[in-house]
């Protein structure tokens, strides 16, 4: 009898324990986050630590991470939007907000946050997540595009940080050398990307802004127009074509995409490139000998410019777990300093600046670049503008055009065709 009672008691305890676990499980809701940091290293470890911190701070929420390579994010979002299976949040830089707004898959979330909280962001970074006065997400850090330089090589060659495109070319010429004395050039002064993708377009657009010739701007009548093809814009085209003609960039510029450029930088084959501190992080992961050798400065042509490229999380409309998504946005924005330490990306919140500077000294210079931030317009047809620009750069670097004027005219016509189509 005692055995039977004992067994019943054990069963009762087990049932109670199981039901309490089940209850706890029911009370927890899942926040789905999709994006490239889930599958990219070292970003994945940072994201994981932030998620763990969030789950500890908000035990009612569980985070499910969905990995998508950065090149496939748009495609994945499109497919999920069509099948109405979008997650709560996507890791993005806000560049697609206009297109997503037109598709009706994002909504204004400004009212979910206090004014004080939103005032705590660098305005240039927060602006990227606004489109037509509506806020669709929050930045957590920036992946800026500036001029990345090998400071040790510059010092060794007695070269000042270049302050114009002519000085960039002159410095690149001096830094293009045969390092091992075999009669062949094995380190080039400059790396320019020419692979036909959006990364190439963004870098050339920064060079255009540095020439005081924005790719797209609003004219006095309020219409979209382009300065490509203007006399000012020739500086950017000349920079690219002269760099190739003078042999200060490695052969095969049309093959150079972001990964190839990181590889060239980390293997000491190029000394300068238009990129940012996130690239320093990747370089140092590939080659720890490069730690402390790079500096990042704003790109200076006719104007001094930088593209902050703020990265963060965009929330989709009618997301399955809205409260959890908003809580995560708030938490992540305030707890992303580890990303700065690991990848050298500066944080999006002003109050984290000092902590970030301690975590990664390179960040100070990048944060100074914020004042030179370009006004890259958020457009529903942004992808078409990128395509027109990267096809133009790719053709120019492939030697399709005899002069910078020819290259500029071809790109102007392509960009104007996009603007005309979307009038």
């Amino acid at each position: 009898m005692k055995k039977i009672i004992g067994c019943i008691a054990v069963l009762l305890v087990l049932c109670m324990a199981t039901s309490s676990v089940a209850f706890a499980g029911e009370a927890q809701t899942t926040v789905q986050i999709m994006g490239p940091w889930v599958v990219e290293s070292p970003e994945d470890s940072v994201l994981k630590s932030v998620v763990e911190g969030f789950e500890a701070a908000y035990p009612q929420y569980k985070v499910e991470l969905i990995g998508v390579p950065s090149a496939d994010v748009n495609k994945q979002v499109q497919a999920m939007a069509a099948s109405q299976t979008l997650p709560d949040l996507v890791i993005n830089n806000g560049a697609n907000n206009a297109a997503w707004k037109e598709m009706g898959i994002v909504e204004n979330i400004e009212s979910k946050f206090s004014k004080e909280f939103l005032d705590g962001f660098y305005p240039e970074m927060l602006k990227a997540f606004y489109y037509e006065d509506e806020l669709f997400g929050l930045p957590t850090c920036a992946a800026p595009f500036v001029l990345l330089l090998r400071n040790d090589l510059l010092t060794e060659a007695g070269i000042e940080v270049p302050k114009s495109y002519d000085e960039i070319l002159a410095a690149a010429k001096k830094l293009t050398v045969d390092t091992n004395g075999d009669g062949k050039i094995d380190r080039y002064g400059l790396g320019l990307m020419g692979f036909p993708d959006a990364n190439t377009a963004l870098r050339f657009i920064l060079a255009l802004f540095g020439s005081d010739a924005p790719d797209v701007y609003k004219d006095e009548a309020g219409n979209f127009a382009t300065k490509i093809g203007s006399p000012e814009s020739m500086d950017a085209f000349k920079l690219y074509m002269d760099a190739q003609a003078q042999g200060v960039i490695p052969p095969g510029a049309t093959e150079v995409d972001y990964k190839t450029m990181v590889s060239l930088l980390s293997t000491d084959q190029i000394a300068m490139a238009i990129s940012g501190p996130h690239t320093i992080g990747n370089i140092c992961v590939q080659n720890p000998d490069m730690v402390g050798k790079f500096i990042a400065v704003p790109l200076t042509g006719r104007k001094t410019v930088a593209y902050l490229n703020p990265y963060g999380f965009v929330k989709f409309a009618n997301s399955p777990n809205e409260a959890g998504a908003i809580a995560f946005l708030e938490y992540a924005a305030q707890n992303f300093v580890e990303m700065t330490r690991v990848t050298k990306r500066p944080p999006s919140r002003v109050e984290l600046a000092e902590v970030a500077k301690e975590a990664a000294p390179e960040v100070a210079a990048i944060l100074d670049c914020a004042q030179y931030s370009i006004d890259l317009l958020n457009l529903p047809f942004r992808a078409d503008i990128y395509a027109a620009v990267y096809e133009g750069v790719n053709s120019m670097m492939a030697g399709m055009y005899a002069t910078p004027e020819d290259a500029a005219e071809a790109m102007r016509a392509a960009v104007q065709a996009v603007l005309d189509e979307h009038k």
Partner: protein, 291 residues
């Protein structure tokens, strides 16, 4: 016999085929019909469905990028399929002989087909890289070239390089198909030919080729269709550049759909590719049937 029994007796083949037909309808027929349907709209697949009728098809007539892609595709497909047929057939003929370590060679020569396309494309990109690629290094060491060549980055060499890489990736399929065809040819025929005094060349053309022609026809159709809509390797190696010299139709369709979100236009392009592939199939079947 019950009604069900009678029905099963009469329609037994249909009943057995039904699961496969259902799967084919869901996975093949529906996407095809849906693809044609969206080609009639200006749509982002979410909240914009503007009926355009044949407007997307008419627009393609003035679409220089699409016309260029078709021309690039034709050059690509002719040379790639020809390369597969030549290399695949030569290797299959060798592997059909009683050579030493035949199983080893069969496995080794199949390797390119087993490697994922993404990995193969990245490997090819590294091998051909002008800065650190082993191909340029070897050619320079042998004194064949003085300076590194951007094989995938120059207008003159990009398409040829992509074609060579595609041939080396895809020949094992042709090789294994032709080899399977060769193994069905009766040895008696070759013995008879030898007794009749046929030369090896005559034996090949008069016995081998006619015997494996049905297999060759199927191989040609499958290979042409597979490589006509090829995307992955070219997208990774060149992205369609330089100056659109390697911009295959599939690359243009992908960019139109997933970069510009013009799904209607991309759908129209895809329908045209489907028609071309279908015509290829009809052409090959007619050609081999008449032979």
């Amino acid at each position: 016999m019950s009604k069900i029994g009678k029905f099963l007796d009469r329609r037994f083949t249909l009943v057995l085929m039904l699961p496969a037909l259902c799967i084919a309808a869901v996975l093949i027929l529906y996407p095809m019909c849906y693809g044609f349907y969206i080609s009639l709209f200006d749509t982002n697949l979410v909240n914009k469905w503007e009926f355009k009728g044949v407007g997307n098809y008419l627009a393609l007539l003035n679409n220089a990028a699409f016309r260029n892609s078709l021309w690039v595709n034709i050059q690509f497909i002719v040379l790639v399929v020809l390369g597969h047929m030549v290399i695949g057939t030569v290797l299959a003929l060798q592997l059909n002989k009683a050579i030493k370590a035949r199983a080893f060679w069969r496995c080794l020569l199949m390797l390119p087909w087993l490697i994922p396309e993404v990995v193969y494309a990245l490997l090819a990109k590294w091998v051909l890289n002008p800065q650190y690629g082993v191909f340029n290094y070897t050619l320079m060491s042998l004194g064949i070239i003085d300076a590194p060549v951007a094989w995938l980055g120059e207008i003159a060499t990009a398409l040829s390089s992509v074609i060579v890489v595609s041939i080396l990736k895809g020949y094992p399929f042709t090789m294994i198909m032709v080899l399977s065809g060769l193994q069905t040819v009766s040895g008696d025929l070759y013995e008879a030919a030898e007794m009749d005094g046929c030369t090896p060349w005559q034996t090949f053309w008069r016995i081998t080729v006619p015997s494996i022609l049905p297999v060759v026809a199927v191989t040609l159709i499958l290979d042409t269709v597979t490589w006509f809509k090829h995307y992955t390797m070219v997208a990774i190696m060149t992205g369609g550049g330089p100056a659109k010299t390697t911009s295959l139709v599939s690359v243009t369709i992908y960019k139109t759909a997933f970069e510009s979100f013009k799904f209607g236009q991309a759908g129209a392009m895809a329908v045209i590719v489907f028609v071309i592939c279908y015509l290829f199939g009809v052409f090959y079947r007619r050609l081999t049937h008449e032979s």
